[in-house]
Amino acid sequence: MIYSTLGYYSLIFGLIVSLPIFFFSIINFKNERILDNKIVSFSFIQLFLVVISFMGLVFSFVYSDFSNETVFNNSHSTKPLFYKISGTWGNHEGSLLLWLVVLTLFIFLFLIGSKGLLKKYRILTVLFHQIIIIGFFIFLIKFSSPFNFIFPTPYEGMGLNPILQDPALAIHPPILYLGYVGSSIIFSSVLAATTLNYISKNWAAHIKNWVLISWVFLTLGILLGSIWAYYELGWGGFWFWDPVENVSLMPWLALTTLLHCILILEKRSILSSWVIILSIATFTLSMCGTFLVRSGILNSVHTFANDPERGLFILTFLFILVLISLIVFFTFHKSENQNPNSFFLISKETSILINNWFMMYFLSVVLIGTLYPIFLDVISSQKISVGPPFYHKLIVPFLIPFLIFMAIGPQLKWIKAELQNKIHLVVIFIISLLISFLIFKNLEINFLVNTVLVGSAFYLFFITIRDFFLKKPNNIQQNIAHFGFSLLILSILFNNIFSSELITNLKVGESFKNDRFEIIFNNLKKSKEKNYISFKGNFSIRENEIKDELEPELRVYNQPNIITSEADIKTTFFMDKFITMNSVQNEEYFNIRYQVKPFMLWIWISVLLISLGGLISLFKKKV
């Protein structure tokens, strides 16, 4: 009770603090030459109040204060402490409060970290950022307060959806939000810089850090979500082209494009309009992600909140922000014409532009696939869904040139590159195609596409390895990230092509055999855990004299009353063995799915390598 009250009022005071920030910013903007310290202090006070408010919610969860509506809806007294805490952001209201915490934290860090820059620019960034912050405050206080009271106080809570009770998913939202919200700083800063015509090499070098921070967190956030989906949803896949996954992929694509453009802007101070548009797009897509997931508009496994009023607010808010940014862009932005000898056809700039083209293409495919069903539903109430074949068909063929350009691009010089001494590029390409040809020679699959695709992935793979050992490590971050990407594509392709699975219905004691596997259902153990009853099946699986014991589990949660299946996965260096077990109502049969998935581990490792590239780039600059 006390914690909720504390949380609620510090939220209101936090909103009020926006006033002095606005006030001092405007005065300071006109008058003095140095930044008024009051702005920094008030930003800190705002951060402090929001953190207090957030802690208020955390403590309400920890002490299971069911007079708080959010706690009542999402927690239960028997839940383990760890999930009580993570339950704070496992729901709509709490996760938006977390957004606000990160928003205020980032603007404070921005103020501290931008000391050497133009004063007016810093103040304007704060002002633009305050607009976003105020929007979130109003949203939280008026439309989705995490501190609503229920009277009389319920005796017990509704519980947290058990599939969310998982370590990976406990930290997935905060990490993802750090990435999402990082794009808000880029947004405010780009608007400020455009207004002041401050877009320059200096600015690019400074904002690059923020781009890198959000990019690394977004990458890791998506990775965590994928890992969770892999072992918790029990389908053995890691990416389903589900709308909620797509909304996190879209800002990632935009942000990756932005990252590459910022490099050009930093080195050559060209393409500034494009950088502005991309920054606005990234933030808009992040906001859209929040809107789509939290408004309940998506018919998807991830949607846990259903409230159209909130959606309407976010949509209006988003519209206002986009409007402001468009006005700023068209009023203040002067396109650069001071660079007559821009660049030649064969150069690093061109290759980055080609990369941009592909990224924008991938982005539009994902955008259309995600929004078209919603659009069609609204105008004609036709229900459709767009499945993986759509994305695969449109994206996979374009990966081939994308990978090849990704390999060649970094070999080229700025402004104008020579094509002499580049024979190794051709030689490596032929070798890569040959290797891939040998792999696929004896397989009965779509031969041509796979050979060329895997060949181009190998191409990037070998080129990056060669660079790593031959060149001076002056661009090691790019090298590692690109290597990680080639490894990712290779692992995903091999994983798709060489996976095998077996689906059958078994009773305890029965066995099933086909030409490759033999699977025996040995026994079923029942045990009682803190907030669920566990049924653990014991299976022996034999494949060519290799014998494995796997123990998938069914959990019957008490509150809410939900059954989940926990996959048992045996991870080795080269493959994962994955088994899930499902109950079918009132029958002795259990639905068993056994999968052998090669290179699973490498998918996770390669994404880690990609984000490692970002991290190196971030810290290398500071030295």
Partner: protein
């Protein structure tokens, strides 16, 4: 007549327009081929021509209709006006049970037989896909 820069810019714009048209064309074509429509058992009965494409069917699993064998599961989807028999071999989600909402994805054999390739998972016993809710709407 025109400077080199103007010409270059002109070519650049044409290239962008061309690639834009190409990608829009590809996307729309692929959308047409890969979109999955959602139908209720009553919609299926009203179909003029049998759909060759993959569709989704949603409704309730009829009481006492689940029959499970070692290699397949049979059940009936109903919207309380019409019903349809479904054969399925594959993984059944945990919340798949009689009297609960279900969405099956697959191909129609005829107007009352459906071969499912996927049964969509529901993660909450109170959750019902909006489509199912609508399909059952009049009840």
């Amino acid at each position: 007549m025109y400077g080199r820069k103007v010409k270059l810019r002109f070519i650049f714009i044409i290239l962008i327009l061309l690639s834009l048209t190409l990608s829009v064309f590809l996307v729309i074509k692929s959308l047409e081929e890969n979109v999955i429509y959602f139908k209720s058992p009553s919609d299926v009965k009203l179909l003029g021509k049998l759909d060759k494409n993959q569709i989704r069917i949603g409704g309730m699993v009829k009481e006492n209709s689940i029959k499970i064998k070692s290699n397949e599961v049979n059940f009936i989807i109903t919207d309380f006006k019409n019903e349809i028999n479904v054969t399925y071999s594959g993984v059944v989600p945990n919340l798949f049970s009689e009297g609960k909402g279900v969405v099956a994805e697959g191909y129609l054999k005829d107007r009352s037989f459906f071969e499912a390739s996927k049964i969509l998972a529901k993660h909450d016993e109170n959750y019902m896909p909006p489509e199912v809710k609508e399909a059952l709407g009049e009840k």
